[in-house]
């Protein structure tokens, strides 16, 4: 028997290109996305190594050098307590990233698990999950945070203080954990629905693709099909959503801190720095400009990166 070989002319000589590599090539050609990626990497680096980079401690006050304009020693000047604004912005980056990553990570874990289960198994599970999603989505996040602040924060803080007095365990003195866990934990608990919806829709659409039927026809088990067929194909849109979600969480953190229901002073956050700077912006505009500019930059960077990823991962849907 003979098999007619394919004509050799149509065999390309370039190395094979996986869809991920292909997306990376496309991302690299998108200038705004590269800019966004660069800024995000820089901010992440700052957040990680910030404490080793800052010329001053963010808490150390120098009352002789209050409200100094930007100079070579104090790149962004100093605030009303003589603290170095540059150092505080860098620490604010750490706060922002910590919050964004914690909030997004919790939300993604909850959302992806619920969404994937609902999409893959359907039936009553799907209905329950979707009902839960809709319920959660109807809770206004600002209101929830304010309510939690008002109702839970002070009893827990005073309980921790009493535990500290009783045990002298320094863990109980770290009230910052209350801020983080309470406020941003609750934020995470209400920001998973978009991920759940996205993943459910992805799984539903992938489950009906012919390559899933083809895999079933080969006799492959559900576990293999889920891990090797469904998950890798659902990842693209999730990456886009996570990138955008990180930016949103950062802005949200700043917004809550600005309103005084997020991170509390003296822990620096772009939000509470903006809030402080706003009171004196006519006299010392740099106190407002520095944190606001960095927040704006971060927000724009994540948004560019998210858009770029979207175009890179869904080339046909773009434009």
């Amino acid at each position: 028997m003979t098999v007619v070989p394919m004509a050799t002319t149509d065999i390309k000589e370039e190395p094979p290109v996986s869809l991920w590599r292909d997306a990376w090539f496309r991302l690299r050609r998108n200038r705004l996305a590269v800019f966004g990626l660069g800024v995000v990497v820089l901010l992440a680096f700052t957040a990680l190594f910030g404490p080793y980079l800052t010329p001053f401690d963010f808490l150390s006050q120098n009352l002789d050098a209050r409200n100094m304009p930007p100079s070579l020693t104090h790149l962004f000047g100093t605030d009303d307590l003589g603290r170095d604004v540059f150092s505080r912005v860098i620490f604010g980056t750490r706060t922002a990233f910590l919050v964004a990553i914690v909030v997004t990570a919790i939300a993604v874990v909850i959302g992806v698990t619920l969404g994937a289960l609902a999409g893959f198994f359907g039936g009553w599970l799907d209905r329950v999950v979707m009902w839960l999603t809709d319920m959660t989505m109807s809770i206004p996040n600002l209101l929830l945070v304010v309510v939690i602040n008002a109702s839970l924060k002070s009893p827990i803080s005073s309980w921790m203080e009493s535990r500290y007095l009783a045990t002298l365990n320094p863990f109980y003195r770290e009230t910052i954990w209350v801020d983080f866990l309470l406020v941003f934990g609750s934020m995470a608990l209400i920001s998973w629905p978009p991920y759940a919806r996205l993943v459910r829709a992805q799984v539903l659409s992938i489950r009906s693709r012919p390559y899933i039927t083809a895999a079933q026809a080969l006799g492959l088990t559900n576990r293999i099909i889920l891990m090797r067929y469904v998950v890798p194909n659902a990842l693209g849109p999730l990456i886009v959503a996570v990138s955008a979600g990180l930016g949103t969480a950062m802005v949200l953190e700043s917004a809550f801190s600005f309103l005084g229901v997020g991170v509390n002073p003296p822990t620096p956050s772009w939000g509470n720095m903006i809030s402080d700077g706003l009171r004196v912006w006519q006299h010392y505009p740099h106190l407002l400009a520095a944190p606001a500019a960095v927040l704006g930059l971060a927000s724009v960077a994540f948004s560019f990166l998210g858009d770029g990823l979207n175009d890179a991962l869904n080339p046909r849907g773009a434009k």
Partner: protein, 335 residues
Amino acid sequence: MTKTNTSERLLDVKGLTIEIETRNGPATIVDGIDLHVNKGETLGVVGESGCGKSLTMLSLMRLLPNKIRVTKGTAHFAGRDLQTMSNSELRKVRGGEVGFVFQDPMTSLNPVMRIGQQLAEPLIYHRGMNKAQARKRAGELLKLVGIPGAEDRLDAYPHELSGGMRQRVMIAIGLACNPQLLIADEPTTALDVTIQAQIVDLVKELRDRLGMSIVWITHDLALIAGLVDRVAVLYAGTVVEDAPVDDLFARPAHPYTQGLLASIPKLSDERASRLSSIGGTPPEPGRRPKGCPFAPRCPLAEAICHDKVPVLESLVSAGAHRVACFVAQRKLEAA
């Protein structure tokens, strides 16, 4: 040369070139197409997917998608230049003097508009009819294309009709303004074979009754055998052969046409005998070979084929039969 007077040509496309912008710069999809349709003639345009047959027709009406544009060539309709024509003038041609029928009647009809309205629209726009006149004419059109209970169907939405009925509605819309030319782009590809036969018969009958010219774009040579007067075979964005239909089926001159005809299973074939097939696949845009685009797959290719692009020329023996192939042309000269 053909003896056809140019003025008889209803549609005349010369050297049309279409490019698409890609990551690696512009890539040619349509490379200097020559096509014409005479008055009252039915032309079949045949080619495989990606050969540029649909884009050529869309480009005539300036309906090309983004990033795809005409870079060279001319196109005249009834003696008027389609490319320099003003937009308002072009709109009169579109849907007025030239009717379109697309492949997929589900996506080409507006799902939220009653079919009566969709039929009436071009009549009001192009013919200046009032609503009542347009509705009356719309009913006549539905009857013309053989939709049972035509008048009652005017108020139906597209999803209430079957695929075959929707394609009839598309044809009715294409014919609404008594066009001189009907361009049908794979109008039966989405349909079943018995419905396909209905539509082909319908178009034949309408043509004989209304006397318009037709361009029928398809990938199926057998389908148009009994329908068209002349066939233009496209390969990788060029016309490789253009001949009267009987000539083309009886004496295909281009190796691609020969291969295409040979790969259709025939009644006389023994069961499970090997079909003659063309090896390889058509070139992608941007990867066009130098020389004749078919040369890499061609069993007869010679050195010159890989080097120079053959031009569409009349075979000496038959004026209307034109082919773009060095080997075929030389063979005939020798004979």
